[in-house]
Amino acid sequence: MFRTEELVKTFTHGSSRIEALRGVSLAIPQGEVYGIIGRSGAGKSTLIRCLNLLERPTSGRVLLDDEDLTALPAATLRSRRRRIGMVFQHFHLLSSRSVLGNVTFPLEIQGIDRARRRARALELLDVVGLADRADDYPSRLSGGQKQRVGIARALAGSPRVLLCDEATSALDSQTSEQILDLLGEVNRVFGVTVVLITHEMSVVRAICTSAALMEDGRVVDSGPLVERVGDPSSDLGRLLLPLDPAPAADGERHLLLTFTDATAGSPVLSQLARDLGVDVTIRSGGVERIGGAEVGRLQVSLRASLPGSLRGSPGSSPGTPAGDATVDVDAVAGYLAERGVGTQVHA
């Protein structure tokens, strides 16, 4: 478990001050693929660099398995950093060393003997599919291959966490997909927590189980993706499954519905139409697999099909008078909420 408590980072250059982090408290459970997303300059890199203290926070704490890293003496911090692997956008491989030499590097500085670090490195190169390039130099590799070496190197010391700052941003989309698959595999096979910075929502959709949305030095929304998509008021949910809302016509009311694993497969909308006598039209949205679960966000418009039919609906307030063609939106929302569907009424 990686945790930050009220992290603040202020950069000062002469008289100018930049508040890159303005109080970030985040909990990243062990075993997650945790995405950190946000616009350029939101503070994502600063945050991830604070996690292994490449950047010293101005105030606040960073806890790895309940140990406060910011309070550790330099030598202890160095040994803790060996539990935290880091993968970089621009790879940062050593050009003076072969592929094998790059992967053995972290083991070498840990004082592990030559035979064992060689064996471990070859094992990891096999995992990333580059066993046959062990003796090549990084300059001979493609970007995707370099990043595979970067991942093997980051895994060499058997870390519990892998920090990836835009690990795929320098790669084309197909290569990027392969690297993401590899990271997902690393997470599943080795149980390594993966913290992944990106500004592409597609990356989060592809492999993350949880995410945090950053804006202007703050985390404005965070949590498991399934839960976020299921919360109609969630900014992350909105970004994960964006809607293109259409304007409501006369006599229509719009409703935002969110479905999670349990509800996405059930025929709740047709039941609604039958039970409450409303016509449901889907205006925007969809159902997708995100974070390993089926989730959906739909914008629907409602119109009464049979005037007065709302009367007697279960658990609803007294129905609208007969002859009125408008729909009791609150009743519909209540009906759906009872069946586990997230609802938000549009003004």
Partner: protein, 229 residues
């Protein structure tokens, strides 16, 4: 025409081959020894300047500022002046201010600041991301210098070393002029002062060949190292 030019030389320059050879080995000795000391000292200075600079890993202006000043003073003094100023220092270290061994002192002190800056510049060329990557793996400052900075900067360091070696040939000839032996001394003593122009020219040719050789070998090594990566 030729007769007029060579009129002053009584002996043919080939009579001096033994002496020329001796002067040549003296020059090699001076260059090699001062290069050895300069490279060690310069590496120390360069690494220290790099590490203690304001954005370095061990930022410390109480080391960086005075060291930088010292290096700049060392580099701004004309070598000939340094030679003379250092005479008593040399005598204190080596016991004499004459001869090839004595020349190693001013050569080293004159070149170490220059090479120190060369080292600092080469280290600055190393992508800071690579240093950060090493830090993220728990590398100590020593690991970073020995296993990241110096190996990554090697092509630049070797190119700088070649530059410095060539400079040594020049400086050692100058030191020769004030009694350090070597080719510079030889050219003045037997060529210039005895009006033996062919002998002086022969010495110059030897110097040119030596410089050419050093530069070519240096370039080859740099290319070989850079090519391997």
């Amino acid at each position: 025409m030729n007769d007029a030019l060579f009129a002053a030389s009584e002996e043919p320059w080939t009579d001096y081959l033994d002496l020329l050879w001796q002067a040549f080995t003296e020059t090699l000795y001076m260059v090699a020894m001062s290069a050895l000391f300069t490279f060690v000292l310069g590496l120390l200075i360069g690494v220290l300047l790099y590490a203690t600079s304001p954005d370095g890993v061990l930022a410390n202006r109480f080391v960086y500022t005075p060291l930088g000043l010292l290096v700049n003073v060392g580099r701004s003094l004309p070598f000939l002046i340094l030679l003379i100023v250092l005479l008593p220092v040399t005598r204190a270290i080596v016991g004499t201010s004459l001869g090839a061994t004595a020349a190693i002192v001013p050569l080293t002190i004159g070149s170490a600041p220059f090479f120190g800056r060369v080292v600092e510049t080469a280290l600055r060329e190393v992508d800071p991301g690579r240093i950060e990557a090493a830090q993220s793996m728990g590398a100590t400052s020593e690991d970073i210098v020995v296993k990241v900075l110096l190996p990554e900067a090697l092509p630049g360091l070797l190119a700088g070393a070649t530059l410095t070696l060539v400079m040594f040939v020049d400086y050692s000839a100058m030191a020769g002029a004030i009694g350090a032996g070597g080719l510079g001394n030889f050219a003045i003593k037997y060529g210039y002062q005895r009006f033996n122009t062919p002998l002086m020219l022969a010495t110059v040719v030897v110097l040119v060949v030596l410089v050419q050789l050093l530069q070519t070998v240096g370039d080859r090594v740099v290319r070989a190292v850079a090519h391997r990566r």
